[in-house]
């Protein structure tokens, strides 16, 4: 995922946490610490996708991001909603995190829309799923595959 070929992020980790830990960090913790001060994508347990500058972490994988935004994708539309300046995620809610290749462009099949539009699309999708759910429930007695 290392787009610009920035090596291991040494010399980049201006954060003292990174420098201090480089000498004596157990291997299991290194994975997170090496990602400090890089742009990351985090997927939460509720399905949200958060992108932001990864600033800090601890042994519970509590994560701190600076200037993050939530990327909402519905069908072929997407929107980036800013989430304020500092964002602290409780580790329990994290599903995965990965470095974002900033040189990479957004696929042309995706179309940027306004927050209002994406909310509408999200709502529509939710309602559709709800209807599909109730339909299946109603047809439960038919013993469909």
């Amino acid at each position: 995922m290392d787009g610009q070929g920035q090596g291991q992020g040494q010399g980049q980790g201006q954060d003292r946490l990174a420098n201090r830990h480089q000498a004596r960090t157990p291997l299991h913790a290194k994975a997170l610490i090496e990602e400090l001060d890089h742009k990351q994508l985090v997927v939460l347990r509720d399905g949200r996708k958060i992108v932001g500058l990864f600033r800090s972490c601890d042994q519970f994988a509590n994560l701190v991001f600076q200037n993050p935004y939530e990327r909402i994708i519905v069908g072929k539309q997407y929107c980036d909603l800013p989430l304020g300046s500092i964002y602290l995620v409780r580790g329990e809610n994290v599903v995965m995190m990965g470095r974002v290749d900033e040189g990479r462009e957004i696929p042309s099949t995706l179309q940027l829309v306004s927050p209002a539009e994406i909310r509408k699309a999200q709502q529509a999708e939710k309602e559709e799923q709800l209807i599909r759910g109730t339909m299946l429930k109603r047809l439960d007695f038919l013993d469909l595959e």
């Binding site: 946490l17 601890d58 300046s85 500092i86 809610n93």
Partner: protein, 126 residues
């Protein structure tokens, strides 16, 4: 700077907390602890769908129900400053602390070693 020291630095500042169930709490942080339990004042609670609101003068949130927290930029600066102050203030202590931790891990290993030896000796006796 650790996430929980950031939370500590946010004391007295406004913040937004979303719980795992989707409700959000907007208020001023009064106090917090290392379990992320927080005490808020002047809270506005918003339901999951964002269609209902409640004004609550004071509330306490158990840390394990939190999904995420949002704080202001200033809090980061304050946390960095607090950390610096702490380092300068307790430099001797910090040094000793580090030394203690350094000594701590080998001694832990030593204990583990002796435990193994004990077990081995026990086996040979049997």
């Amino acid at each position: 700077m650790l996430p929980l020291s950031l939370l500590r630095a946010a004391q007295g500042h406004p913040m937004l907390i979303e719980l795992k169930n989707g409700e959000t709490y907007n208020g001023h942080l009064v106090n917090c602890d290392t379990w992320m339990n927080v005490h808020l004042r002047e809270v506005i609670c918003t339901s999951k769908d964002g269609d209902r609101f409640w004004r609550i003068p004071e509330c306490y949130i158990r840390g394990n129900t939190v999904k995420y927290m949002r704080v202001q930029e200033e809090v980061m600066d304050k946390a960095v400053e607090d950390q610096k102050k702490f380092r300068k203030h307790g430099q001797g202590r910090g040094g000793r602390g580090r030394g203690g931790r350094g000594r701590g891990s080998p001694s832990y290993r030593g204990r583990g070693g002796s435990g193994d030896r004990g077990g081995y000796r026990g086996n040979s006796n049997r």
